[in-house]
Amino acid sequence: MATINVSKKYTVKEKTYLPAILIGMKITMKRFLQGFLLRKHDTILYPEKKRDYSDRFRGMHFISVDKNKTENCTACYLCETVCPAECIHIVADERDEDQNPYGVKKEKKPVSFDIDSLRCCFCGFCEEACPKDAIKLSTNYELAVSSREEAIYDLDHLKREMNGRSEK
């Protein structure tokens, strides 16, 4: 069988390696001097410094609360219905009447509201479906946890006072 020889012949310049090393050193010295003398960096000092993300970035979920620190969620199950990853699990119950300052609007409450962030695909459909603007995705992208259990967010974890999409 005929074979095609794809190997190429190296020139003397390539064989000695030295010119290529010098070219590399030139780039290294250029970057070093830029950073050392002109203080011009391409990296940042994370986590002390953080990058700016778009306000539309979809990060960790939260449930907004009203001025009485009661969650806005009324356990309507629309987010659970629309969720393509099936990562939201709600259990609903009746809210106590003394905890019912707004009458009919807050007759129902979530007893538990779990989001399995390992299953979540951060599509933001839940936010779109929510009729009460309760569930939202924040710009928080630091989702690292040390165990699988911690990755399932419960109501207490999700219920936070928020200023817009970013944490107060």
């Binding site: 309507c76 219905t81 609903a92 007759e107 129902k108 009729p131």
Partner: protein, 516 residues
């Protein structure tokens, strides 16, 4: 899959107390002599019986989907108050309510003309002026007639700029332990008022005040007292009346719906089992003119709780060192076979909640498997009922005295009732499906339990020796047929799949057979 009703007797004397049945129907002395009158609805001509309303003709021939309605319900007298069902009748100056206008020969009706649709849009806009936008919280959402008709006929916008009316006290008002009223959602169709007036005849509810302030109230301090309160929540077209047992448990669109038969009494009401992931959330009646009409009683409606009881035995249990322990069915049946072979006499008591097929199987095939003489009898267990002859109506609607579904069907197999204190054999096998009572047994009696049992019931047998428990399937989990108190045989198929270790009687008998 649907319930099939075999009519064994030609016309059972069922007084369903239908108010609509009482409507005088113009009797024709010789129906064959004259051809039936004809009415034209939406360009097609239909024959009808004299006395039918336009709605009934359209309903029978399924013209379009349905004529929208709020106040009309086929099981109740006609009110004609909601104006949603108006249709255009040619040569009539105004739109006519199809629920209350009798069809006439040669009448030409349009149910979807521009004039009709405009009228419906107007009605919808008026109904929505005061209806709160709380569908996320409302339990009716997903099966709400106001939602459905608003999608189809609603204006989409509203000219109403004022504050919506709020009934402060009646926002969540308990009408009874079972029903909660939210008056803000009410559209004043008064189905509930007519139901308590004409169907249950308890006159529990009344509308007080007029116009803007019209409000539903219970007539007595005690609130609702009738035994058919669940029906109010079924036919309420909006979420004004909600069933507390189901309230906030599940959204309606998650439920899968399968037909079955209620086994709470000998009436055998046709039901729809609403479940999600094989967990039952409610029973809802299905219309069957011959058996239950449109209704079902509250004790039947909440009877799914027994089935979903966490104390229910769903795996075989064997007696070991004076305690019941979970085991495999093969091990249990092997052990029981030895015990039964050594027994001097064996008695089988079949509860009257067994299906006809189970009763036949246990009577004919089961004794031959054991290879010895087994005396078979049935036991009802309802106070004051030993056989179907003792059964009688408890009210003017559906409730029966006999609280087991198949007394007639078991009697039909030629099995005789167990007379009190007759349980005297060495070993007694009690087969029941959670509805029939437990026969009286002397202390120290060896007993094998079979079917649907829960641990609380087994605890009452502490003075007897329970050799083993064979877990069985409940009515909605299996296939079979019941013969109800009127002699109507009703077949049913599994509505949910049993997730535990219980097996049907046929499977247990087959396994027992293969062991011997």
């Amino acid at each position: 899959m649907s319930n099939t009703t075999e009519f064994e007797i030609k016309k059972p004397k069922v007084d369903l107390n239908y108010a609509s049945e009482k409507k005088p129907v113009a009797s024709d002395p010789s129906p064959e002599a004259k051809p039936l009158p004809k009415v034209t609805i939406d360009g097609k001509t239909y024959e009808f019986k004299p006395g039918d309303t336009i709605m009934q003709v359209a309903e029978r021939y399924k013209v379009h989907e349905e004529i929208p309605r709020y106040c009309y319900h086929p099981g109740m007298p006609i009110a004609g108050t909601c104006r949603m069902c108006t249709v255009e009748v040619e040569k009539a100056p105004k739109l006519m309510t199809s629920c209350s206008t009798p069809a006439a020969d040669g009448m030409v009706v349009h149910t979807r003309s521009d004039k009709v649709l405009k009228s419906r849009t107007g009605v919808m806009e008026f109904l929505l002026t005061n209806h709160p936008l709380d569908c996320p919280v409302c339990d009716k959402a997903g099966e709400c007639e106001l939602q459905d008709y608003n999608y189809e006929y609603g204006p989409g916008t509203s000219n109403f700029k004022e504050e919506k009316r709020v009934f402060e006290e009646a926002t969540t008002k308990k009408l009874s332990d079972q029903v909660t009223l939210n008056m803000n959602r009410c559209v004043h169709c008064e189905r509930c008022v007519r139901f308590t007036d004409d169907v249950t005849k308890t006159n529990d509810l009344v509308m007080v005040n007029r116009g803007w302030h019209k409000e539903l109230e219970a007539t007595t301090e005690a609130g609702l007292t009738n035994d058919y309160q669940g029906c109010l929540t079924d036919f309420c077209p909006v979420g004004a009346l909600t069933w507390n047992d189901f309230r906030f448990k599940k959204r309606s669109w998650f439920l899968s719906k399968k037909p079955s038969i209620c086994d709470r009494c000998s009436k055998g009401c046709n039901i729809e089992v609403h479940s999600d992931a094989e967990v039952v959330y409610r029973y809802v009646p299905i219309h069957n003119e011959m058996v239950n009409g449109h209704w079902m009683c509250d004790s039947g409606r909440s009877s799914y709780n027994d089935l979903m009881n966490p104390m229910r035995v769903i795996s075989p249990l064997m007696n070991h060192q004076n305690g019941l322990h979970s085991t495999t069915l093969q091990a249990l049946l092997g052990e029981l076979s030895i015990q039964l072979k050594n027994a001097s006499s064996v008695q089988l008591v079949i509860g009257t909640d067994a299906t006809r097929e189970e009763a036949a199987l246990l009577k004919d095939k089961f004794p031959s498997i054991l290879g010895k003489n087994v005396s078979v009898s049935y036991f009802n267990g309802t106070a004051g009922v030993t056989s179907s002859a003792d059964d009688k109506k408890m009210d003017n609607l559906l409730k029966m005295k006999d609280l087991t579904p198949n007394t007639k069907g078991v009697e039909e197999q030629g099995i005789s009732p167990l007379s009190q204190g007759e349980v005297s054999s060495d070993i007694v096998i009690v087969f029941r499906n959670g509805r029939a009572g437990i026969p009286k047994m002397k202390a120290g009696q060896k007993v094998i339990l079979w079917g649907v049992w829960n641990h609380d019931e087994i605890k009452t047998l502490s003075s007897q020796t329970v050799l083993g428990v064979i877990a069985g399937l409940a009515t909605i989990e299996k296939e079979g047929s019941f013969k109800n108190t009127d002699g109507i045989v009703q077949k049913f198929h599994p509505a949910i799949v049993h997730k535990g270790g219980a097996l049907s009687a046929h499977q247990v008998v087959n396994m027992w057979k293969s062991l011997n």
